[in-house]
Symmetry: D2
Subunit: 380 residues, 4 copies
């Protein structure tokens, strides 16, 4: 099998999910390339060395520019905080590397546009890790929609609920907490959580025309880990919006880190004329499906345990009834990306597709600030 | 509308469910007779008077024999403890009254047989309150089975789990606690709870040929309310058995009052070649249905909210989505009984049908005592 | 027991739920008055006669004015379409009768204000049938909130989803379909469904300050039953809004009759600093409760089967594990109303309280029309 | 890190789960040895080569004896059909290798006893892949029981339901179907499925004293893949038994491959005096927990999403709310085994512990044949 040399930047949560995905894809899928874990880059050499040992990377790096420029690297994978995405991606593209980037693309549309421009100018393969598209149950929903099973769509309903920032004692910034620092993250739950909801929604239900939004920061100041001082919190703790899709359907979106009792409850529901689907991340291996064409007396929501051989991706795993989990969505994404390299079009979502999500998050933030309906930017 | 004069014996839990049922049936169903709450009998005149006032009975009674013999009573309804069933039912039949009797029929097959003989000799309408047959979801399961939807049946699985007798401080006997006194109740959970599971099973799945059982009394002695003394507990606290049905299917049955966390969890599941059904009393308005003939990718258990106009009994209630509850099963039973009086065959289960359940509970108790498989008596 | 003579206007769905409630309250609750079903009024004498026979009313009426003026009527209950509420309620109040009115109060705030003024001027007892407050699980949520269990509230999330008007063949107007006729109903799902969500929300979580909304009419014209002609549909088929409560919490509200698979799915969820609750009408006898103060390893949403003796209203019904249903919420409302007549303050919601809900629905409709945030009118 | 050279025999379903586990353990857990995928053995060289390429084994083998005797192999892992377990395990032990064996240990107690004797005589580390003990939710249940949270145990209730052999067209024997061939498998669902239920039960709830069982073969003959002829089916398609545990609790066990609608529904429920737990394999990342010591009004089954850092094994995976799946149980087992090699006692279950399960399955099969209660053999 041909080798594909991978260089990963970032050793945090996402560094682990990506490394695992690169390592497992060829065990479970027939892919034209075998990913080789060539180099891992962290901010400190110690951290990179430790991670390299744990995951079998051939070498640690502490300078991402060196990694990006190494001739033995085919693909640069960006798993570092949001404020580094644009700079690294552009440099990697300019060095002629394939680029994969953790979501969201940039901290704002301007950054994202520059990234899209760079990969398109360089003509390199590129993809953004909106991993939830590759949950088998979500992909099954996509199949059903594309087959026209649902009929005309009336409603889209989606939330992403967490509860891990409720304590006012939690600091902002620093290791594992940069998501609370607006200068690093770009925004709060809008970019971190709603971006997932939006990416999936655009993919399943098409373009969003306009939104009206509200955001809130419940805890106004937190100690900053780096400065040691109490500082204003500039991210949005909660964000909700109403939307109209181009296809005429209505939507509600909501994300928060203040929904006590929910760890990472990403849910979506789509109501069509003939059928509806529901899914949630806390039981990600199930799809709820209602079909009005079922015999009247026997209509009910079907709880589909998406673990059969004819379910998306599942013939590559175990046997019916045995569930997979979160990490597998990344493995699927690597497998699809590798397959795309042999022709047949780019693996989705590309940087260009991910930019559309940023246009929506931007419209949401502007709507919340202006207290008005805002049209979503539809092209570059 | 023709009137049907009702005399109810017993003011406890079942006196209330029956009274409510007699009072509501004609509001919701087109029935050929309007039940009239004529007389209510309790052990003391005070209690009967209070109950009569609350429920609108025309007169209280404290002597059941007087009620049974009253010329203005058309139907005697027995809602008193098990040790009174046989005597009252036989007297009522001999007085030419219709008889309805709370389950189980007698405390043992001998008592039950004498009751069957009495109503058959007198030729009076009769019915036993195995109310769970008339849960709309259970009746829907019956329809599906009778239509052959499930195909050949392989498995029947049923439990009745409660947790209200776990405390050793709970006394036995007396008001509300006679179910713990074997001389009054006949047996413990076998007659009180498993009798329900068995009645439904015989109705849905046909005859049981043989059983092997175990029973247990976890708390060996309790204070008796009437004597004030610590006395041995002679009822079964828990009872489980394996069974073979005549149709070749296998079954597990279990009932207990020591299943912490379950208030009255009666569940049943039937697995057929083509389809399966599940139901539970804690969400009685739902039927779970799985159909293997559904398209492969979209197979899943359907959670049917049994509240539509084409669901059994439901066009007589509210609108889709609005659930009914426990008490309604008794109202349905009265409605069906009243309709049966205009011809078209007896309302089920008759005393004779209920006797079959007693044959099974008897086999269960003997099997547990003898530690052996026991054949179920199949006829009188 | 003292008698309270009831005159009900309307024999439809609500005429039945109210009649059942008046008939059962005294069986199950200790109330100071026994409701007497004195008169029932329908648009035609035949219909009234039939209904009176079925439900045991002493006399049918076909002229509501006659009923309202009858000296033997103590309480006028309005169960007729929305366009009759104001006229009847004002006449009844002026005649010195107690008045109960099906929700929503009027078709718009002006009508509602005139009704409030009338009952307050007359000094008569009054109540609006926002029945869902009296679901035991919802009342339990209220208790928990009032006890401070949830702590500071961050989020309120509620929907009311139906799917019964998706077919374009369904006509508007006429028997059972007046809810689709804006001139009768006032509005569509905003007044019919969201009014319930709003009433409960104001009761549980306090005042709403402002909203931004969108509404949609998916099917633009339908045949009108009365005219026989295809006519524009003027009601809202779907309505959603974002809201800010005075206590600082954020909310999303949504109602529709185009959510395939949902019959009457009213859900609510409240996230507090320390605990959260969830409830849904399709399993109305359960409350989901999450308490962050539980031991960390053992935290989980508790599915509370609200059927115990220490749950609201439940000691008056059956035994633990045996569920009640939809109709019982009306019985509870009658019981609470009757108790309130012996002093201790009015039964909630009064006309004045229900007017607050109309101010919110009015703000929602104006926001949708104006595409802007709208402040909710806070006083008269 | 020290290396541990692994030789795996078997390339089927279990060959894949074991290979994955050996490959991932060191990525996620701090283990004293790094497993090296040294050799893989299949019946044909082609198959072994293909598998070695896919999974990164250093060399393929087609003769298990050669693998067992290779000096560079430290640990022999048996993932081949049941009829090969004893011979390979004994040879491996005699060659001084550590041995891991897929369950069940042997096809019958005699085989299993010889295997135990061999590993004990050789003094080699050994373990049986009863993987479900290492589901985090099941391990959490174990913790709760060991901490005494449940109090005295009254009931154990467990099933393993599948539906993949209902078609009479399915042949027996051959690739992927040896589980239907009694000469290879030893027994049907008793050894294949109930062995899992029993292993977990003995571990959680202690010894089983006696059982009464029934088994059934629904489809009496099937075409044999190897002979091409219709042959009698000698395995049990369904098996159920009642049991008494030494601690006084009662149990029901049932397994079948004829439960339409269930893919691999392994469930267990334990009812104690103070608390109860429930778990099922179809949603393996959740534990249901009921605690009677909760405040009365707020008691309910807690649905614990077992994905927090303080849940067993979970701090080594992702973040709260992100679930793992089936394959992870094997990774946990490898991690625990590797840790055990540095002292601190053997990893459980050893061959000796797994033999206890075989004594129970043997008693079940004898009870079913003899139609009698059978005592479980308690020692060798």
């Amino acid at each position: 099998m041909k080798k594909l040399n991978i260089g990963v930047i970032g050793c945090g949560f996402m560094g682990r999910t990506h490394s695992n995905a690169f390592g497992k894809a060829a065990n479970f899928f027939d892919v034209p390339y075998e990913p080789v874990l060539k180099a891992i880059c962290a901010r400190t050499g110690d951290r990179a060395r430790l991670f390299a040992g744990k995951w079998g990377y051939e070498r640690p790096e502490s300078d991402w520019r060196k990694l990006v420029e190494s001739p033995d690297i085919d693909l640069v994978d960006i798993a570092s905080p949001n404020d580094t995405h644009a700079e690294i991606a552009i440099a990697a593209a300019q060095a002629g590397k394939m680029v994969m980037c953790e979501k969201p693309l940039g901290r704002n549309p301007a950054e994202s546009e520059s990234m899209v421009k760079a990969v398109e100018a360089a003509g390199v393969a590129n993809m953004v890790w909106y991993n939830y598209r590759r949950v088998p149950a979500v992909m099954l929903a996509k199949q059903l929609i594309d087959e026209g099973r649902l009929g005309k769509i009336f409603h889209y309903r989606t939330v992403f609920l967490q509860d891990w920032t409720i304590s006012s004692e939690l600091p902002q910034g620093g290791e594992g907490l940069w998501r609370l620092d607006a200068s690093v993250a770009g925004s709060g739950v809008t970019g971190d959580l709603l971006a997932h909801n939006i990416d999936t929604a655009l993919w399943l239900n098409g373009e969003i025309d306009e939104v009206t939004a509200m955001t809130e920061t419940f805890i106004k100041s937190r100690k900053h880990t780096l400065t040691g001082k109490q500082e204003p919190v500039r991210i949005d703790d909660a964000s909700a919006f109403l939307a109209r899709f181009r296809n005429g359907s209505l939507a509600t979106f909501e994300a928060t880190r203040y929904a006590r009792g929910h760890k990472a409850l990403y849910t979506l529901e789509i109501n069509g004329e003939n059928a509806s689907v529901m899914w949630d991340l806390h039981d990600l291996h199930r799809l709820q499906y209602f079909d009005h064409r079922d015999e009247s007396r026997l209509r009910g929501w079907r709880s589909i345990h998406v673990t059969d051989g004819d379910h998306p991706y599942m013939k590559n795993w175990w046997v019916p009834g045995l569930q997979i989990g979160y990490e597998h969505t990344f493995i699927h994404q690597v497998a699809d990306f590798l397959k795309s390299l042999d022709g047949g079009g780019p693996a989705s979502p590309t940087f260009a597709e991910a930019l559309r999500t940023d246009y929506v998050t931007d419209a949401v933030l502007r709507s919340a600030a202006d207290r008005a309906w805002v049209k979503v930017q539809s092209g570059r």
